[in-house]
Symmetry: D2
């Protein structure tokens, strides 16, 4: 089944880790892309993928047979990727590297410099000011920074585009929908209850997650507060300039849930305040470029509102629309700010590999890959 | 061991339920009180306590042998309690009744009317404006309403005093400590992660608590927002008048934890803003009447601050100081309000039976029982 | 999408319960059957299905839109089903009734008597000696009792066929495969770790399943020991006569897992003892009538063997092949008997609704419906 | 509080690990022993204990203030222990070393050789044939090997005594009680459900323990099958000779429970078969040397039988009698062997540090330390 004529050959950096596995699983039957290159740590390099993940594959879904027989390359060795590119077996890479932040930063740049576009899940380049942090529905216009980035770096074909942290996915679309409809937010206090898959494997010890929660995830609150400002920012000259609002305060907690980050949001509008009725209409009508362009990974309805008192719940709602939709519930007035609600997003699909694939689809749709 | 000469004989209404069991367990070796009367539903009435709870006892700790052989009375039949009172075998009752709110309200009044003080865990009389909602460290002066209550009702010896909902216990003491030190709060947004024991047994279905959380607990947010205002209120004439501040907005979530409610708190001060350093000193120095009077159930230090990044955690911190202390951590500036922190309290001890016992100790100390 | 021309119209008795929901979800896109009739308790009767399950729907997957608008009938009122049958809108029913055993027994007979075949998930008729207890791969020939059953009862079109308890699904196929290959079992000691979905909703309290397991499931051990003997039995005259072997001793435990029953099996052969190598070949080659007839719900490979040390695991393996395959691992010599292994089966799919649908497919394939 | 005149000064090797912490916590108020020496890896050496465990302390209970200020020594450096011994600050050590098996073996021997008795929790010396594997109630007479061991090794004051694996603790006492009463076992098939604390910290990943169980624990089944034979063995000449019976076949599973290993046991007697009534009497009457000598850590009643259908359960029963008792339930006839039952033991107390302390008490009682 490998070598389908019309599919774009893609590579996965960090292919044996949790997010790498999720990429490979989600790309099993992708209509546009096909995994033809996998790279990981030197320890895995030289093995068939099936051997490299033996006893480490975490997902209920498996991987395509042809992927199992691909020989894993050393992700540090960009020359291997260049060879594959020259043979027409690699067009771009998804980066799910699990290294130190500086190492990832340098390595992703090397791939881009070598002519291989990098669509990254890592946090390494999120604060590089000419690298777009993309959520397909929210800021597709930020791809306009890519030609500027290429030019500034002297890169020909390669570039770097990234996706934001998983913790913000559930609330970015609802607040974007409201802003777009004329109701921008001023201040937000959010408390998240995040799934253990977000920490990878082995990740969170079970002694911390049986009869327990942990009210702390290193670095997560900062990301949850700052990344939205870049995504809501605008291109000015050669960089993306951050928005000033909304001010966000995040409390990030780890809870014994496999997949699905839940956020309790209290929100104050900047000026006009829509009624709850209006808000629900705005969310129901919300569409973005991924929906308009009918991208394969795009959820039909990016925001699903559940009427029940006690929803969304991670196990019951995370898989909505290929696990790519945000599910919201409990919209009600806030006793302190204007409104409050609960939002849920699947962290390893929408918040990681699925979001990365949607970004790649967006970039292909726009002609960047 | 029954009939110890100098102990005050007490009764438990709703003795077979979760909170009733917790009362009985906590009173096993109490220096002042001894369980001599237990009442429950007609179904249990007439059985020995040991038989009534066979297969239903939920606690790792057991109950005193003499309690096992007490015959359970029908809680609806106040005359039985009166008989015991006359024989000197009952001085007052703890109410952990599990009935409809109106039924409890009426029944608790009947006991009080019959001369038997009622120290209640239920929510039935929390909004009766001449009934004090007591937290020993926070508003011990609200016991001053009791003579007024008695007079207004024409009650002789009986009265009703209650404790607040378990969900607010973790944040009431820290905000009281700050207010007392001259730093009252104006607005608070709090998100709780509450233990399943709070819903009793059978309570929350396991299908909702394996690989899941539920972002809703019926009625809990309203209690979490309003009860603090009564507790911070003041006696005016014949009633307790609510405070106006702090405005509280609560998001209440159920998580797979046995015991221990955790709260993520963002707080805005009304005027002056203490430094983080000052706050920690204020909390460390915080004491109330229970500590000054050295009440048996009082924690030595009502607020314990943990320096670690990832504390408090329910399983590791809930049992601090007989499960009566509040454990706080993660004090840091809030990106939207002034400060934020995480607070934890044991919901079935400090938040239920232990808090009720502390109230009884307070009332005895003040001569009301 | 309702009223597809060539699909057989089916009904679900007990359509609002956990197993009923699973039936409806699994039949969403079934190539042969279409849900056209739903019946439940009088409380739900008269409502649209969408209303009847509002706030009670438990599954991540939803239900077909046309099912949502079907009016729920009272399952006790067989005349309604007969009406639908006469209009060509009901051919047979799946019974997932949640009533007392005797009530179910009588009610299932009424449907059959009225001409409506009953394919049941309940335990009511498992010990009725002319009712077959079917596992498609193991005893498809037991359908031969159906004409005998009909004749004895004076039933014309209707009959009753049932499926066994979910707890035995994981070990029946592997021991049948071995028996068929000439290696019957004599004695088996099995310990199960069963998922909470097996107890329905609300089912097992979360207080029993957080930091806990329960080493007891009422009635489950008896079913796990006896039902295999009927399934391995043979038709003699007008009844199914039980087999004598294997003797089974079962320990049934409840564990905090959503779906998937795991069994630890120690097995002693009756006479010849295959090598571990032979056993794995036998399991790999195992096929039954469902595979030969290519029934829609049949797993391609009924027994999947995993080589890893630590598999099968419920969350990772329960969904194998539409959640209809048994996944086995850890085959090794037993220190006391001959061999031991771990087997896993999805309890609400293979062990409940999926198994019932496979039985219906088998009965259609054989011309009984 | 340190330096209590009459207490024996003890040391903990591996003091910062999970079992080391448990030792320190359990010895907080021990009437005979006082922790005066703590040793761990070179990484911790030189720090105060309070610093060495900052952020790593796992237990709800804390440690004595004087222990916090002890300087941690390097466990590899026996000379430090010898110095302390000479100053009268160390009499013997508890070994909870976390190193490779061969390293532990050599290191424990070095301590013994240097004159410091080693009471070990590790598995390193369990199969050294002149080292006793002690369970206080079961084989206290195996201490008779100690003089033989000392002589053979040319050791003066030092020796090594160990305790068995935690997985066997729950079923050893009940089968010993029966054997002692004239009903030895011939064959046992046991399936365990073991707590995550048994794997230490970080130990089992939470991704394996949310909505999951793992039917495998490396090396555990072998220990569960073989160690009982040494414990039931007898001293012959200069070694302990293993018993031949009972043959045990163990299935060891990891489940999401914090503490408490549960075992489902099917047992065949060697010859005479007691009635269930007799068995319960035998268990109720069971006492051993720890009870007769009234050792501080000994449970009053080593075997507690619970009558309820659904007990023992880990969370509710593991703490019985200082977490040192075995709790049994569900005694019933086995369909294949003679009897079956469920047994539970606290793995980090009775099965680890508590068992080690009881061994030390036994050895002191007998004059070995």
């Amino acid at each position: 089944m490998a070598n389908e004529k019309n599919k774009i050959p893609v590579g996965i950096l960090g292919a044996t880790g949790m997010v790498g596995q999720q990429y490979i699983s989600l790309l099993n039957d992708h209509p546009w892309f096909e995994v033809r290159y996998v790279a990981a740590s030197p320890r895995s390099a030289g093995k068939k993928y099936v051997e490299a993940v033996a006893g480490r594959w975490q997902l209920p879904a498996g991987y395509a047979a042809h992927v199992g027989s691909i020989i894993v390359e050393d992700a540090n060795d960009v020359s291997k990727a260049v060879e594959s590119f020259k043979k027409g077996e690699l067009s771009f890479v998804f980066s799910a590297l699990e290294l130190g932040k500086d190492e990832i930063k340098a390595l992703e740049e090397k791939y881009a410099e070598a002519g291989i576009p990098v669509i990254s899940n890592t946090s390494a380049h999120r604060w590089t000011n000419d690298v777009p942090v993309l959520i397909g529905e929210v800021n597709p216009e930020h791809t306009d920074i890519i030609p500027i980035q290429k030019k500034a770096r002297g890169w020909d074909r390669g570039f770097i585009a990234v996706k934001p942290n998983c913790s913000i996915q559930s609330y970015m679309k609802p607040i974007h929908a409201l802003a777009q409809a004329g109701f921008p937010s001023k201040r937000i206090i959010v408390s998240t209850m995040q799934a253990v898959s977000g920490a990878g494997y082995p990740g969170v010890p079970s002694l911390d997650m049986v009869d327990n929660i942990v009210p702390y995830i290193g670095g997560e609150e900062e990301k949850s507060e700052k990344e939205p400002l870049k995504i809501f920012g605008s291109i000015e000259g050669s960089v993306i300039k951050n928005a000033e609002f909304p001010k966000i305060s995040a409390h990030c907690n780890r809870v014994p849930v496999v997949d699905g980050h839940t956020a309790c949001v209290s929100l104050e509008f900047a000026d006009k305040k829509p009624s709850l009725e209006e808000i629900r209409k705005i969310w129901a009508a919300y569409k973005g470029l991924p929906q308009e362009a009918d991208l394969p990974m795009a959820p039909k309805q990016p925001i699903i509102y559940r009427e029940e008192d006690n929803r969304p719940q991670p196990r019951k709602d995370r898989d909505a629309d290929k696990a790519m939709a945000v599910v919201i519930g409990r919209l009600r007035p806030c006793n302190v700010f204007d409104i409050r609600f609960v939002a849920l997003s699947h962290n390893t699909v929408r918040g990681a590999a699925g979001g990365g694939i949607l970004n790649a689809e967006l970039l292909k749709h726009k002609g960047f890959i």
